[in-house]
Each structure stands twice: as structure tokens, then as C-alpha cells.
């Protein structure tokens, strides 16, 4: 492992290991085996190297943060996981098998959902309809039946609506169910985006700066929801966030990136004490 990386694994990682026993967090949560493993990932855009030879893993049920200064390659890393970018080198293992290059919708079908740094909702549609789009991967009826709202399409919509309503209840947005998204304040839009991602019932949830631009109260609410999602549904969460307080409070393990390289990996306390990380954030005298 690289310099500055601290291992908290109970077992040594074995090449190709599908699953191991995981670990138990300070607050008593059982974290499972490896869900995803990124091996020696490099991403190049022409001559620019955005990510250079990064390896880390994501375990089942954990909250895994990726942090780093601006331009460190965090969002690129998330885009690789979500299938939007294909790594130039390296491999991505998911649920014990190497994942071939995939389109984002194919990744979504494998149970990976995400939210975006800049909110990407349908502004003119109601909150409910926006969240329903999160169920798209679960709808199989053909276009003709859907247009006529007939037979299988109808049954499917009813079943899917039930899932969506549970998400609405969970995120406490009943009061804005029928409100067009364009009329909502920023903090609530972020929550609707989370709702849409949750509606897909993902096993892994990617959150790109879920707290950006929020006030303290909104951040507290969002933190609560992230913890609750993880707790109630056992969803694995990968998050990028700038607010260090939030990251350190929420996450089980943190990957720190700087200039496309991994400079730290471990539990929040270990990362906080890591000299390379301190230097990256506070700057060093050259």
C-alpha cells in the first residue's frame, strides 16, 4: 500500500477476494465484505492525467468519503464508478467480478444510483414525478402500454408508486409531493435528488457534494438523512464532500486525493493525523 495509507482491515486483502469478514465500527455497526474494489485506476484526458494509479475498496454497508482539494479528481472518480468515464488503465471489481466497460444506465441497473454536484432534476415536473423517474430501471412495460396506462404498465406504476411514497415518507417531503421542483428552495431540491436516487433502491449510493451551498440547518438535516439511509436500508454510500466537519462525522473511512493521486486512506481520525493530508489542505512551504 501507498505511503500514508493506514490499514484498518482485519484480514489481509487477497487478490480477487470476493468477500471477507469486514469490521465493526466505533458505534457498533457491522460493516460487511468488499462490495467494490478499484484497482490501479488511471484516467487520462488526452495528455492530462486526472487520476493516477489509485486503488481502494468500498465495503458493504459503509459510508466511504472521497475528499481532496479542488481539481483533485474526486468527481472523476465518482464518474468512473457510475460508468460515465471508462478508466484508461486499471480495473473495477464489483460484487466479486471484474466489471467490463459499461454505460451509465447499465451501471444503474446493477444497483448503483447517484446524485449530482449541480442539481439535475426536471424543473417543470412535480416532486413525485421526478422521484418516479428513479424507478425507471424497474419498469419493464412497453411504451404503448405505458401511454395507455393499461395492464402491466398500470400494475407496475402502482407498485412503483408505493416504493416512491415510502421514500417520500422517509425523507419527510410529503408536503411538497405535488409541487413543481422549479419552485423549491435549493436545500429541498437536493433532498428531492436524494429521493430520486433512493427510489431506485440502490445497493450503492453515490453522492456528489450533497451539502454544497446549504446552510447549517440544511446540512444537519441532510447528514441525518444520509445516516438514516445507511442505517435503515444498509445502503453503501460513497460521498464527496468539502465540509470537513460533515465528512469526519459521517464517514467510516476516508480516501484523500490530491492532484489525481491517493495521499491517504483510513478512518477519519487517522486521516486527520496524516501529514500528507494536512499538507494538501493547509499547503506546505516550497
Amino acid at each position: 500500500m501507498m505511503d500514508g495509507t493506514t490499514s484498518i482491515y482485519r484480514n489481509d486483502e487477497k487478490e480477487g477476494a470476493v468477500s471477507d469478514t469486514g469490521y465493526i465500527t466505533a458505534d457498533g455497526r457491522q460493516i460487511g465484505g468488499t462490495l467494490m474494489e478499484l484497482r490501479n485506476i488511471t484516467l487520462k484526458f488526452g495528455g492530462v492525467v486526472a487520476i493516477k494509479d489509485i486503488s481502494f475498496d468500498i465495503r458493504e454497508g459503509e459510508i466511504r468519503a472521497i475528499i481532496g482539494p479542488n481539481g483533485a479528481g474526486k468527481s472523476s472518480m465518482l464518474n468512473i464508478i457510475s460508468g460515465f468515464y471508462t478508466p484508461s488503465e486499471g480495473a473495477l471489481w464489483y460484487k466479486g467480478a471484474e466489471r467490463p466497460p459499461m454505460k451509465p444506465y447499465e451501471v444503474a441497473r446493477m444497483g448503483i444510483a447517484r446524485t449530482f454536484q449541480n442539481i439535475a432534476l426536471f424543473e417543470g415536473m412535480s416532486v413525485l414525478d421526478n422521484i418516479m423517474t428513479g424507478r425507471l430501471t424497474h419498469m419493464k412495460a412497453g411504451i404503448a402500454r405505458q401511454a395507455l396506462w393499461w395492464g402491466k404498465a398500470r400494475d407496475e406504476e402502482i407498485a412503483n408508486r408505493e416504493v416512491v411514497e415510502k421514500v417520500i415518507d422517509f425523507l419527510e417531503i410529503q408536503a411538497i409531493r405535488k409541487t413543481p421542483v422549479g419552485r423549491l428552495p435549493y436545500g429541498l431540491k437536493k433532498r428531492v435528488e436524494l429521493a430520486r436516487a433512493l427510489a431506485a433502491e440502490p445497493s450503492m449510493l453515490l453522492l456528489d457534494e450533497p451539502m454544497a451551498g446549504m446552510n447549517v440547518e440544511e446540512k444537519e438535516d441532510m447528514s441525518r438523512f444520509i445516516l438514516d439511509v445507511n442505517d435503515e436500508f444498509g445502503t453503501t454510500i460513497v460521498l464527496i464532500e468539502h465540509d470537513m466537519g460533515v465528512v469526519m462525522d459521517l464517514s467510516d473511512r476516508v480516501v484523500v486525493m490530491d492532484y489525481g493521486k491517493k495521499i491517504g486512506d483510513g478512518a477519519p481520525d487517522e486521516v486527520r493525523a496524516n501529514q500528507a493530508v494536512i499538507d494538501a489542505y493547509l499547503g506546505v512551504a516550497h
Binding site: D27, E165, I168, D169, Q174, D228, D231
Partner: protein, 657 residues
């Protein structure tokens, strides 16, 4: 207390009423709650099963006769069932205000010595856990919503559903005991204990017997001809006596259906979907709704606005008369019918008042314009006057005798007496048993013959026999020159302006009156938006010079109106300050039922009061505020003190000469 007849056989407690309702109305809906976007419903028979299972579960946990069971949460069928289940076991339910902070809960929970707490969700559970070390009798907590609760220590913490499951499993073993306890409930046994919000001092536990609740529910249901077909929306705090009477007392007596909103925020949508036939709301809610209608009409198209203005003018002229069955010309009636089709109907539908047959408001004075607006639309809105100690009803307005400035005639079975100092006393079957563990206060309030002091000053109007309330008896005072000082009278006049949310008038033993004013953020914010006035916070808007000018205009208008009454002309407001924060129950400035606590406000803002009287133009102040999660912070502000013109009146002394 005069002896009153025993309740009809088998109808001496809420659990017995439940059994009667199961046999009379078994398959009619008794409770509904919107959950996952759909109205879920339970009929009386299903409800009884739920209640019985929970009661058996409580017995299984060791609930004893006479135990107090605290219930904390928003209006939900499960919590209503929990209260009745506690009664079945011979225990006493004690509903608490769900928005109370942990310290407030600690007082009530330790005062009543609750062994069991039933909490709605994690938020409430957390509050109780925070204070549990100081609660010596507390043993078990049961929560309804399991969300977020998985990691908690479950040795003394139980899920509602599990308790019911345990109860069902132990049915054969425990049903004998439950039947014995249910059968032993007497008419004078305690039905419920409710804590008064307490405008002064600590809350007091008001003990109400089955007789109090059932006699009151019976009389008031008959007064308004309530039947099993009514629909009500249960949304007012469960700890408030009114909710207990409406959603349990009257609902169980008449067998009507209680609907619970999905969440507090969706209340107005749910109101519209349910369209209750019997409705209660404090004046503030009617004010807020009217303000939002007016704001929306400002934004409406020209045609719609003209139609609204035209038909509302007509409605204000003839609407209340039509509602009271008075003489109205055929042409006006026709015109009104057209208005009903085009404006009133759709408006009532949007408000959720399409089916309201009986609507009540109480707790505070309601502005005549607001009151008339709803009556003009054909909504039978009435006023009542009541107290926790009276099981709500003291006076109420009969149909067709409704006016904004009175609180009506004595409710059936209620006797009223006005003392020499103007204080109103009453005696009725609803009069409370006692204040729990507080014999001294009980004796102060209720005399040996059962007469209860309301603490309000009022008089009966000649001719109509309607009661008029002037003010809290102890708030009515004298100014330095001996003139009568009735703060609430002036405050209410000011609060009728949509821009003003709350007012506190000072002036007792002083030579002139001054006031604290809270702006209404909705109304003033909308005005600011339409006039391109930018503001970043409540504080900034409240201090904006144009806002201060507008408020000054309102104050001067009220001064002119106060000056017309020779008795009260001394109460004109000379100086006022618009506060930098909203008065809040979390900061102890209001009670949980949103009444102002004068003494506490005067002490807390003593610097501002001083500045109002020392002639300075502005004052710097720091105020401690409590956030919803109980943390404290400080806000700092420099406030401008405003002078207002008063109308000169001849001093009363000269008039007497």
C-alpha cells in the same frame, strides 16, 4: 358539588363508549390517517382490536391501576388508541405537548410520576432519554415509529407493534384481568390528566374525570346536533383539552370519524381532502389562511381579482344575514347564489371548508374582519369560551346568534356568575376534580360549592345575554393617573392588522403606554417582495424604515379607535419598538398555546422597556434564543424606538369635575 346522576348504564368511561360504538357502528370508519400518500382507515371494530391488543401488551409490561402514562407526539390514531388502552387498564393518560423541549417535559413527567411513556418517534424518545436520569419513577418507553431506533438500548424501550403482538400472544392469560379493570371503571374515576400551559408559573396537572368528559361531550354534541356522520381533522396538540374533547370525548360519544393529517406541514392539503363537517381552529389559523388568500389574490389576474372584490363586497353585506336566516331581498339572494357558484364555492373548496357545518374558534379574540370574512362565505364559524378546568365549554354561540365581539351564552349545564370585580365564575358538570398534587391551587381556583374562577374579567351584555370578555382579570390594572389599563384590548386591535403578528402592551402604573410589536413575516415579506425591498433576515425586515413607518400607521389608527372609548383612552400607545425576533414558546415568551407571558417578556427585555420610557431613539440589545434542538444562541440588534401620535383626550379627572 351538587350530585349529578350517574351516566347511563355501561357508558361511564371511554372504553365503555368504545364497546357501545363497536356494536352500534362497528363497520363505520372511526379513524383515518394519511400514510404513504393514501388515507388509511380503521372502523370502530378494527380500532377496538388495536386498542385491546395494546392494552393487553401494557398489562403484560406491568401497567398498574392508577399509573400515569405519558403520551407524546402528533395526532395519530396509534396515540389516541394508546390513551384509550391506558384507560382500559385503569391507568391515566397524560398527553404532552410534542414541541416541548426536554426540560419542560422533565417537569411534567416527574410531577405526574409517569412509569410509562409512549413516544411517537425518535425525536421524542431522544428527549425523554436526555432527562431519564432525573425521572425516578420512569420505567418503560414505547415508540410508534421504529425509524432510526435500531441501535438504541432496548431493555426498557419497546416498539408499539411489538407490544401489541405480545398483548395478542398473552390474550388468554390476561384478558380476564383486562375485563375486570375495564368493568371497574367508575364515573368519577380519572379519565385524563392535562397540563395547563401556564401563562404564569409551572404547568398544573388538571385532573378530569369520566363524568367531566362524558357529560361535557354529551351536552356539547347535542348543542350543535353532532351525529355519527361528522368528519373532523385532528391536528391541534393532543395535550390540549380541546383536542381531547373533540377527538376522543365527542368522537366516542357520537361515534364520528377522526382524521389525522399526514404531517403537520401537509395539514392544509389534508384539510382540503377531508373537508371536515365540524372544525376547530384558533383565530391565528383563520388569520393566516385569510392573509394567504389575500396575498394570492394580489398576484391573481385582473379579471379574477375584480370578480373576487365584487363578490366579496356583496358577501360581506348579505352573507352573514343569509347564514343567520335573516331577511334578504330576492335580487341579493340571486346575486349571492351567482357568487357562490363563481367565487365562494371554489374558495371554500380550496380552503377545505366545503362541508363545514359547525366551525369554532376560541383561545383569543378574533378580528371582526376575519370573522366576518368566513361567515360571509357561508361558513358557520362561531366562538366559544372555555378552559381546561371546565373540560372546554363555558360559553358558546348558538347558531344564528353569532357575533365577533361576544363569546356566546352559557353552554348547556353551565352556571355563570360575575363577581363584583368583574371576574367570571362558573360551575358545571365539566368542572375539573383537582390540580394533581396541588391542593393549594385547587382551593384557590375552585371553592367548596364547585364555583371556579376563570381569571378573566367580563360582563353579560344587556338584552342578548351574551358574555363579553374584556381581559385577564389580573392584567387589567391602573395607570399612574388612575385610568383603566386593559392591555389585551389594545393588543387585539393591533393584531387584527395582517402585518402584525404579536403585541405586548406595557403601561401598568406608568403614565403612558408603550408596546412591543412582532411583524408577520408572511404578510410583510410579501409586501416587501412586491415593493422590491430586499432583506436577508427576519431581523433586517423588522428593522426596515418603511416597515416601521407602516407599523406606525397601524398604531396611530388603533390609537384613534382606542381614544373613542372614554374609559380606555389612556391606553393609547405613545411609543413602540418592533422586535428583532419572533416571540417564541421555545424561549419561554409564549405558552405552548401561544399566549404571551407578560412578566417573562418584561423581565427578559427589561432594557427595551426601559428605553421605551427614557426617551432614547435607539437601543442595542442581545437576546438569548433557543433553537429547536434545545441549543442556545444569541442574537444582537440595534433597534429603533418609534413614537406614535396619540389623540388628545380630556383627562378623566377634568371630566369628573
Amino acid at each position: 358539588m351538587a350530585y349529578m346522576s350517574e351516566g347511563a348504564e355501561g357508558l361511564r368511561s371511554i372504553p365503555q363508549l368504545l364497546q357501545r360504538n363497536v356494536s352500534l357502528y362497528g363497520d363505520r370508519p372511526a379513524w383515518r390517517e394519511k400514510e404513504y400518500g393514501i388515507w388509511q382507515s380503521w372502523n370502530w371494530a378494527e380500532g377496538e382490536q388495536e386498542i385491546e391488543a395494546f392494552a393487553l401488551g401494557l398489562l403484560n409490561l406491568g401497567l398498574a391501576r392508577g399509573d400515569h402514562v405519558a403520551v407524546i407526539g402528533r395526532n395519530r390514531p396509534t396515540l389516541y388508541w394508546a390513551m384509550v388502552a391506558a384507560q382500559m387498564c385503569g391507568a391515566v393518560p397524560v398527553p404532552l405537548y410534542q414541541d416541548a423541549v426536554a426540560e419542560e417535559m422533565e417537569y411534567v413527567l416527574s410531577h405526574c410520576g409517569a412509569r410509562f411513556v409512549i413516544a411517537a418517534d425518535q425525536e421524542q424518545v431522544d428527549k425523554v432519554i436526555e432527562i431519564q436520569d432525573d425521572l425516578h419513577q420512569f420505567e418503560h418507553m414505547i415508540y410508534v415509529d421504529p425509524r432510526g431506533m435500531r441501535k438504541y438500548d432496548h431493555r426498557q424501550l419497546h416498539e408499539y407493534g411489538h407490544i401489541q403482538a405480545q398483548g395478542r400472544a398473552a390474550r388468554d392469560e390476561l384478558i380476564g384481568e383486562l375485563d375486570a379493570r375495564r368493568g371497574a371503571l367508575g364515573y368519577d374515576d380519572t379519565c385524563v390528566m392535562l397540563y395547563t400551559s401556564g401563562t404564569t408559573g409551572k404547568p398544573k396537572g388538571v385532573v378530569l374525570s369520566n363524568r367531566n368528559i362524558i357529560e361535557t361531550a354529551k351536552a356539547s354534541s347535542e348543542f350543535d346536533h353532532l351525529g355519527p356522520g361528522e368528519e373532523v381533522l385532528a391536528w391541534l396538540p393532543m395535550a390540549w383539552v380541546g383536542d381531547f374533547i373533540f377527538s376522543i370525548g365527542q368522537a366516542f360519544w357520537t361515534g364520528f370519524c377522526v382524521n389525522c393529517p399526514e404531517s403537520p406541514e401537509t395539514m392544509l392539503t389534508d384539510l382540503r381532502e377531508i373537508a371536515p363537517s365540524y372544525y376547530f381552529a384558533p383565530p391565528r389559523v383563520f388569520e393566516t389562511q385569510l392573509t394567504s388568500i389575500m396575498i394570492r389574490m394580489e398576484d391573481a389576474g385582473a379579471l379574477k381579482k375584480r370578480m373576487f372584490d365584487h363578490f366579496m363586497a356583496l358577501a360581506r353585506r348579505v352573507g352573514p344575514k343569509i347564514l343567520d336566516g335573516a331577511q334578504v331581498g330576492a335580487l341579493d339572494r340571486l346575486h349571492y347564489a351567482l357568487g357562490a357558484a363563481l367565487v365562494y364555492g371554489p374558495l371554500k373548496n380550496a380552503l377545505g371548508f366545503s362541508r363545514v357545518r359547525v366551525g369554532y374558534t376560541a383561545g383569543e379574540a378574533i378580528g371582526p374582519e376575519i370573522f366576518d370574512f368566513y361567515r360571509a362565505l357561508g361558513i358557520n364559524l362561531k366562538q366559544l369560551y372555555g378552559q381546561t378546568e371546565a373540560s372546554v365549554f363555558i360559553t358558546q354561540q348558538p347558531d344564528n346568534e353569532v357575533r365577533p365581539d361576544t363569546v356566546g351564552v352559557p353552554s348547556p349545564g353551565v352556571e355563570i356568575r360575575i363577581a363584583e370585580n368583574g371576574e367570571v365564575f362558573y360551575r358545571s358538570p365539566g368542572v375539573f376534580v383537582e390540580y394533581y398534587k396541588n391542593a393549594e391551587s385547587t382551593a384557590d381556583t375552585k371553592d367548596a360549592d364547585g364555583w371556579v374562577a376563570t381569571g378573566d374579567a367580563g360582563f353579560f351584555e344587556e338584552g342578548t345575554g351574551h358574555l363579553r370578555i374584556i381581559d385577564r382579570a389580573k392584567d387589567v390594572g391602573k395607570m399612574a393617573d388612575g385610568a383603566l389599563f386593559a392591555p389585551k384590548y389594545v393588543e387585539n386591535k393591533l393584531k387584527f392588522f395582517p402585518n402584525i403578528l404579536e403585541v405586548v402592551v406595557f403601561g401598568a402604573d406608568r403614565d403612558r403606554c408603550a408596546a412591543f410589536i412582532n411583524i408577520d413575516l408572511t404578510a410583510v415579506g410579501n409586501w416587501a417582495e412586491r415593493n422590491n425591498i430586499a432583506y436577508a433576515s427576519y431581523q433586517e425586515l423588522a428593522g426596515h424604515p418603511k416597515v416601521l413607518e407602516t407599523i406606525r400607521g397601524h398604531v396611530e389608527e388603533v390609537n384613534a379607535s382606542v381614544a373613542e372609548d372614554p374609559m380606555l383612552s389612556g391606553c393609547q400607545i405613545h411609543r413602540f419598538v418592533v422586535l428583532h425576533k419572533e416571540l417564541d414558546a421555545d424561549d419561554g415568551e409564549l405558552t405552548r398555546t401561544r399566549k404571551v407571558r407578560r412578566k417573562i417578556i418584561a423581565e427578559k427585555f427589561h432594557d427595551l422597556v426601559a428605553a421605551l420610557y427614557d426617551g432614547s431613539d435607539s437601543v442595542y440589545t442581545e437576546t438569548e434564543v433557543t433553537y429547536e434542538d434545545g441549543r442556545k444562541g444569541k442574537i444582537k440588534a440595534t433597534l429603533t424606538l418609534m413614537d406614535a401620535k396619540v389623540v388628545p383626550v380630556a383627562p378623566p379627572a377634568m371630566a369628573a369635575q
